[in-house]
Amino acid sequence: MRHLFASKDFREGFVEMLPACVGLIPFGLVCGVGAQAAGADWLAALGMATIIFSGAAQVLAVQLYAAGAPTAVIILTCFVLGLRFLMYSAAMAPYVKPLPASWQRTLAFLLTDQAFAASVRRFNAKDDPRGGGLHFLGCGAALWLMWIATNMTGFFAGNAIPASWSLDFAVPLCFIALVAPLYRSVPAVMAGLMAAIAVVVLAALPMKLALIAAGLIGIVAGTLVDLARERWTAR
């Protein structure tokens, strides 16, 4: 770890991510509060932040767990949500190709949208895969440490906040902040709309299957509309 900090590229990446880390604070707190409310102990909350390292997956897992969903349904639903990482992985692949396999395995663990965006800029700016890789490691390390710190703060401090503040509403608000800007194209709006209708209509499905069913319906709807629109404009 010390020789990593000795590298200028690593430190640059670490420092570059600090503003993004500030933006991460409320989301991390919310994840910690959610874990605490669902009855997880502090070790499980720490495990979630450290190992899963994805706010959306953590909140989803905790919600389904608290609602008594079977283990397999929780895992399956989180897996579909995590499929978006395939997208980042494919986009990142050409940049990290020249790096050793051990680096690639480490970089992959730290792959998030924030680290990805910052590092692609850096990889494109300089023809230096090693420096770019170190920069990415710096970005990822900053986000990972901040994520763990805010999750644990939320877990331990969540109790101290009175229920009348309705702080649980911060959970959907964090996701609204992520999802509302996505509604910029007709197919994306259709994906969201169909998922929304489906999750309400299918709410009575057993084993909390409504979420994954609605998600898949939304994905199919968005894809079909996207294909239809392309065919229509091509004509």
Binding site: G23, G39, A40, D41, A44, G47, M48, I51, I52, F53, S54, A56, A61, Y65, T71, I74, I75, C78, F79, L81, L83, R84, F85, L86, M87, Y88, S89, A90, M92, A93, L107, A108, F109, S166, F169, V171, P172, L173, C174, F175, I176, A177, L178, V179, A180, P181, A188, A191, G192, A195, A196, A198, V199, V200, L211, G215, G218, I219, A221, D226
Partner: protein
Amino acid sequence: MDGALKLWIVIVVVGALNYLSRLSFIAFFASREMPPLLARALKFVPAAMLTALVLPMVLSPSAAGALAGINPRVPAAIVAAIVAYFTHSTLKTLAVGMTTLWLLQALAG
């Protein structure tokens, strides 16, 4: 099943699946192009899954009450969504959404 054990199984398996998804094209399919239909479908994963995740949180505790306009979370969420759409800012969305909810709760109470 013991609750703590169940949670740990979820943490380890979801963590592993997330890691494999992150690693997929970097390591296993490094020399392959992503199939075009898969690439197209993946674009809609966040919009569909996050919407399905968020809606029940806003509509609870009572979906019927929400439709009748009783649940102050619904208007607060709509205002927050408008702020998020235009600002892309989590902090502003949180601030406006929470303030709207508190105001509506104060008016109702």
